[in-house]
Structure formats: C-alpha cells, structure tokens
Symmetry: C2
Subunit: 492 residues, 2 copies
C-alpha cells in the first residue's frame, strides 16, 4: 500500500500535494511502469481526504503523462519517455548543446547580421567618462511626469480600447495629429498617406521589405546612419555608398550611378545628417528629388530630427516638394522625446502606405496601441511643443558650447563640421584610417567617449573619423570633453 | 519699393509675417527670379520694425530656397524649381498618381501579402450582433486600473530608463520574471534563453527571418492560426499542411513528410489550439518532440494561451521536455491580458536566442521598453495572478455555457470540438466547402458573427467550418448565439 502523508503547513491544496508526491515516487523509480496506483477510495481513506481529491490528483497525474489511459478500474503507471527538464539554471550557464544546428540552419543574411553584432567592439564605459557618443535625447530632460499624465489620461478616458489591437496602419487619432504636425513642415498628407511604425528602424525595415530583394542596390550616404548597414545585410541588399560633402551627398556621383546601374531606392538624411550634422540646402534638395523622379527611384527621406533646428532657419523637407509621389518620409519620436516608446511613422503615396501596412499586419499585427495613444495625447495637449521649446534652448547652448570648445581646444589642421541643429558633429582625426580604433581607445582612457567613424560606413573609409554628440552631455561636460580631446590630439 | 503691412491681430511674430508675405508674392509671380528685395534697413523703416526682424525674415526666406546665396549687399530672388505642395487633403482623396510604380517595384512576397489583405472579406458588424468571432481577451474584463498603477509605478520609480532603448533581447527585469513564470510550467530556462518580442506575431516573424528562406517548407497544422499564412507568404516559405485530428496533428503523416522532404521547421499549438481548441496529450507531445529531434528540425511551440486552463488538468508544455535544444517556445500577453501592449517572448537555446536578438536589433532596435516594464510590474506585483484567477472563473462559465448551448440547440449530425480551455471551438457545417461563405453570411444576417473556417487553411479544406469564440460574449450572449446558430442549421 502506498504511504503518503500530507503536510498541513504546505500552502498547496491537497490534490497538488498528492500529485507531486506520486510524481516524485515515479521519478525516483519507486513506482515503475506497470505498477498500479491504489484505488481512489482506499487512498482517500488512508490519507484522510475526500475521494474526489484523490480523483482530481490522479487526473492531474494522468495529464502529466505518468498514467496509462484509464481502461479498467485501476490506474497503472505508464512509461513516460520524457521527464520535465529539472536542470538548475543561472546566468552563468554555458550554451547547452542542441541537436539543432542553429547557426547552420540560419539563412546567410541572418548569419551575417549575427556575426556583425558579435564582432562589434564596445568602448569601456567605466569610470569618470564624458559621453559624447550617445545619440538619443538626454534622459535627464525626459518629460516623465507629462508622459505619466498622458498614460493616465489614455487609460482613464480611452479605457480598454487603448489596450486592444490598433489598426495595422496606426492609431487613427495619432495619424490625424501627425498629419497636422507634418503640415507645419510643409508636408500636405492626409492620414491615409501616413502610417505608424515601431520607431524609424522598423519603418526602414518595412520599406526594405516592400522594395528590396537580395542583390538589389540601395544608395546610402557615406557616412550614414550606423544601423542601416546591418539592416541592408538582413535583406541581402547591396549598399552603394555616395560620399558626403560639405553640402550633402555628392549628386554628380549619384547621377552617374543612376545612369549606370539599377538602384532600388535612395536613402538620405537631409537635415542634421547622422553622423556628420550636415543640413542640405534647398537647391541640393531640389536636385536630389529631380534625379529620383527622372529615374523613378523611390527616395527615402529620414527626418529623424526634423524638429531639432536650433538656429531658427527653416529648410523644408524634400517631402514638401513631392508632388509626384516619389518620397517616403520617415519620422520618429525616438531621437527627440522617448526612444523606448518605439513610435515612428512613414508618410508616402497612398498605395505604398497600403502595402507597407499589409506587411506590418503580416509581420507584427500592429504597433503598440497604448504608446501611440500616449504619444497622441502628448502632441494634442501641447506638451510636445512645450518640451521642444525647452530642449531647443538646452541644445542650442550645448551646440554652441561644442563649437566654441572645439575652436578653443583643438590644434590647427583638425577639421570638423558646423551643424545648425541636431546632436552630432563629425571630426576627421589625424593619421591613417587604421589608427581610428587606437584613437578612440586612447580617448576613452582619457575619459572621453566618442563614436568611432568606421561603423558609419559600409566599405572602410580613407581617413579616421569620429562622431561627437551633444545629446547627453551638459555644457560643462562638453567644454571639458573638448579640452580632453584637444589635449590628446596635441600630444600625438 | 515693396509694400508690406503687418497685421497687429496676427499672433505670428513679425519676422514670420514678413517671410510669408514675401513668399506669397514670389508664388503669385509678383516678385520674379532676378528681382532684388529691398535693403533690410529700408524695409524695416517702411514697416516700422527693427532691422534685425527683417534680417531674420530674409534668412528664413533664403533657407526656404527663394533667395540666391548672398553675394553682395542685395538679396535677389532665385528661381525655385519646386514649391511646397499646397494641395488640400482629406480622407476622401483618391490615390494620387505617382511616378514610382510602387506595386511594380514591390517584391513578389510583399505583393502577395498585400493582395491577400485586399481580398479578405469582412463580415458586416452592424446591428445587434453576437460576436463569437473575436479572439482576444474581453475588453470588458481588462485590468485597466491595475495597469494604470503599473505604468505610474514604472514612470515614478524607474524614471527615464523606462523611456530609453531596451536591450534588443528585452527588458532584463521582465526576462527574469518570465523565467520564473515559465518554471511554474516546467520550463527551466535562464533569462539568457529568453527574449522579449513585440507580441507573438513578431516572435514568429523573427523565427522565420532566422530560419526560412524562399521556397523552404514549413509544417503547419490544418487548420492553424490564421495569420501564419500571410506571414509564410511574406517569407516566401511553403506551408506543408498536416491535418488536425481529435488528438492533435496527424503524427503518422508528419513522420512520412519528414522522411520524404526537407522541412525547415514545424509549427504547433499543443494547448487550446487555434482554431480547433484541441489540447494534445502527453503521448502526442512526446512523439512530436521525438520526431523533430530525430530529423533535427526546429519545433516552434506556440503557447499563446498556456495560462487558460479552465478545467484544472495540467499538461506540461513540450518545451518542458526539451533537453536537446529543439524547441522554440513562443508566448504572449496578447490573448490573455492586453493585446495592444505587444509583449510576447521566445524561450529557446541560447545560440538561437542570440541570433534572434541580433535580427531584432537590426530590424527594430528593440521592443517597447515602457510596455515591457509595465508588464513586469503587472507580474511582479501579483496582479497577473489575480487577473488570471478572475478571468478563469469567467471563461470557465462561458465555455460551459457554450458546450451546453451547442448540445441544447444544434440539430443532430453537427460536429464540434470540446476544449478544456482557451477561447475557441471548431464546428463543421453541413454541405460543401463552397457553402461556407454563404453560411457565415446567413449567420451574420441572423445576428451571429463567427469566424469562417477557410482562413485557417492554406489550401481549401474539404468541408465548411467555422470557429466559435467565447472571448468577448457573456453567458447570455453565448446561449442566445447557440440558439441562433441552431435555428439557422435547422432551417436549411
């Protein structure tokens, strides 16, 4: 007869205690396949519980696979091929061996992206460092309280709808608010020509999913946004790099490229270009659009920092001139307000937006409703404008501090860009391209983090560079950073 | 001399009024390329503003592309090739013509997905209808207040970090909490073997991005989760459909398929299968895992409703037996708590998780931080458990009401499944497969929405079916729905 005793101090219900004792007996080999469990009535009496408790426990044990299907009146232990994994796990675990060869099965593009990620070297962030590396709004300026009120307002007023699936094209009120905001930048789109994405990166991914097949050529600036290169690799697309000049992408070269080969799309950042900080002028924008129209090549305008004009000079987005449906305009809240909310958008011709929304639907159903609803509140209540005014004042001073600091501390012969907005400047370091990593490591040891230039190119550039960002350092830190940079450059 | 007058009632600053008047004069052709603007001092005097106001206005006009670069002391109107689009936009706009042939440029897979979406027919939802179609937690049960407290707690305590980018693999505290939750289902994984995604759909998309190349075969159940088919099309993968029987996927057939052809992965929903509601038993799970191990084929276990066991019988997930690293286990909060937050997860071998996280990084940087942090709070504060207890009581009653109602009202000869949890039942309608749409439209006219069965298959099935869901109808509505269904089935 099976001897079981329940623990009166155990919070678990009796039937679960019975289940667990019997399963343990099977696992320990005390009960073996073919053994019979006691009749439910007999066991119930011996333990002192109601018979239904034992019946329920046996049902559980059967569901766990330890009993044969009930045939007669007895329950018989079954040979259970597998037992639940009981290994202890901890963060220090070595990768466990797997019968599946995951990296062998992975597609070539996925494998490349993985290798890129694994190869990336990270600067040591420990100690008293000044961070001129990071490119995202300063967390110290984050409108956390305003945003909390927006979330509260959404959850109280909009209620469960804010927790439900959104339209794959986005939360309608946010699309309306954004359409109005875009009009203030000269972009006349209806909310049908606008969709919401999970940040600008997902927007670019959707655009490539729509347009790029493996082997397709995509024109990018050199240098360009760092994360465009892994994304192109993921799609198997081939970057055609067009050098940046003082006034923007080299359009003479672009024209020759468009004449010579088939290009799937052109990707550009006309305002506060990342990493160089260059803003192109009206004439450059007109010619770029004209070239894309002439070859019927989609132009993807990444306006990730459209709002960040500190020196008050308006240059309208290329999309504002797009009367012939050539431009997909990508925007985001990430670099300006709240990176972690993952709210971006694409404005484009209605057919393109429809197709992009159907890809969004198939690949992730829709973007986060609550974040979209909170972003809508943040704009509609005027908090976005107030926040922008506040950070404009801050960043105008920081950019000035950076320009002043570089002029004051850097030795003659060093060149850097002079942006009118955004967060970044681009600095050409002395020596050979191969020295770049040494420079950046040396600066890190001197307490200054900068972004190494190499990552912003597909093919290795001719010179060593670095990107300086004012996003997360205050004026004093920027001044001190320029001093440290100057000291290292002089010491070489 | 240029005549300008400012409007004292206009809220816009003087420099913007000056800018807009002059731009309007250019657009109207009053000022032409080559014309000179008045000297700033002269214009300032004539209008009665400070000279710096006019200088600022001219800077703006220049930035907008209407003035030549300053060469001498005069500002000269430039030929501006493009003017901002000024068309009126509205929701009723026809798609505008585009020089880019978007659907022609689109890749074949993207085009297919778009066509699928466009072809989908929707049942008319108007009027007094009983919704047995929708598959997502009832908004009436949504824990809106609890969630509001979670968001507040995150924004107050975690602060700006909750607004910043998360790790591509997910918000570390949420991974920890989920690892503990999974242990209660017998799944022993460390947080390194777990990543957060933007819902289960994005999890499946990532898995396909890792493993599936165009033309690859993917085994799915027939019927299966409706949105897996567009997703496979997006990847160009070929579904191999294995019929569902009373006890789950037909494993004899699966074995023959695995013997005959190369399969990239097997996709299964062992618990509360969507749409049939079938839960497989321990023996079925063991054999399925064994087959995948034997052929080294990844098994994707979609546990979208793992928590929704109403009748108390535990069957452990296949992942709990996965000692050899074959199973990718996909979970989500969407079907149980808050679809719109887009928080799902994948548990799998560490190498697979690393590769999936690098694809996540390249394609969307990371999932929404704030939603992840709020979900972590929701679990860690015990609100998830309390909510689950509450909805279990509700759904147990609803499922019972559905099973009772069908028994009471449906004519003899109609067959349906009898699930032990989840939301859905599967009903085979009378007649030919081609009648299904007529049946569903007829039911809709009778005030009953059901999900037509066709959408859950890749190839057309032999019989007409529909899915009934208890997710968003209360017991009275379910009873009345069964009555309407029975009345229509009798009347045929």
């Amino acid at each position: 007869m099976l001897l079981l005793r329940l623990d009166p101090d155990d919070a678990a219900p009796a039937y679960l205690q019975i289940r667990d004792r019997i399963v343990a007996l099977v696992e320990e080999g005390v009960l073996r396949p073919g053994d019979r469990l006691p009749a439910t009535r007999a066991l119930a009496e011996s333990i002192g519980v109601h018979r239904s408790t034992v019946v329920r426990a046996y049902d559980e044990i059967r569901a766990l696979g330890y009993l044969k299907s009930r045939s007669g009146s007895y329950s018989t232990i079954r040979h259970r091929a597998r037992t639940p994994a009981t290994r202890q796990v901890g963060p220090a675990d070595e990768p466990s061996s797997s019968v599946v060869d995951w990296s062998g099965l992975a597609g070539p593009h996925a494998r490349e992206v993985w290798a890129l990620e694994a190869d990336a070297w990270r600067l040591d962030r420990r100690g008293d460092v000044i961070d001129l590396e990071r490119l995202a709004a300063d967390p110290a300026l984050a409108p956390t309280d305003d945003l909390r009120r927006c979330f509260k307002s959404v959850l109280v007023r909009t209620g469960p709808a804010a927790l439900d699936y959104a339209d794959p094209a986005g939360w309608a009120p946010l699309r309306e608010v954004l359409a109005v905001r875009l009009r203030s930048h000269g972009i006349a789109v209806s909310s049908q020509e606008l969709m919401i994405t999970s940040g600008a990166q997902q927007a670019l991914d959707l655009v490539l999913r729509l347009l790029a097949r493996p082997g397709d050529r995509v024109v990018v600036e050199a240098p360009t946004y760092r994360m465009i290169h892994p994304l192109l690799r993921l799609h198997g697309a081939v970057p055609v790099e067009i050098g940046m000049r003082e006034g923007g992408m080299d359009l003479d070269l672009l024209e020759r490229v468009l004449e010579a080969v088939e290009v799937r799309l052109v990707y550009t950042m006309p305002s506060f270009h990342n990493p160089t900080g260059v803003t192109t002028d009206q004439a450059h924008r007109e010619r770029l659009l004209e070239l894309c129209e002439r070859w019927c090549v989609p132009l993807v305008e990444d306006a990730f920092e459209e709002e960040m004009k500190y020196f008050g000079r308006a240059v309208l987005p290329i999309k504002s001139m797009d009367c012939r449906g050539t431009v997909l305009y990508v925007g985001t809240f990430s670099k300006v307000v709240f990176p972690g909310l993952r709210v971006g958008w694409i404005a484009g011709p209605r057919q393109a937006i429809e197709m992009l929304a159907s890809i969004q639907h198939a690949s992730c159903l829709a973007s986060n409703t609550l974040a979209q609803a909170a972003a809508e509140r943040f704009c509609a209540r005027g908090e976005m404008e107030a926040y922008l005014r506040r950070i404009h004042r801050v960043y105008r001073r920081r950019l000035q501090a950076m320009l002043d600091g570089l002029r004051r501390h850097l030795p003659a012969g060093i060149r850097w860009t002079r942006p009118v907005g955004g967060y970044t400047l681009w600095l050409t370091l002395p020596g050979r391209a191969a020295d770049e990593r040494l420079w950046c490591e040396r600066l890190a040891r001197a307490g200054l983090l900068v972004a190494p230039g190499r990552a912003f190119f597909g093919s290795p550039p001719a010179r060593p560079h670095c990107r300086l960002s004012i996003a997360c350092a205050d004026e004093a830190a920027i001044e001190e950073g320029c001093r440290r940079l100057g000291a290292e450059l002089v010491r070489r």
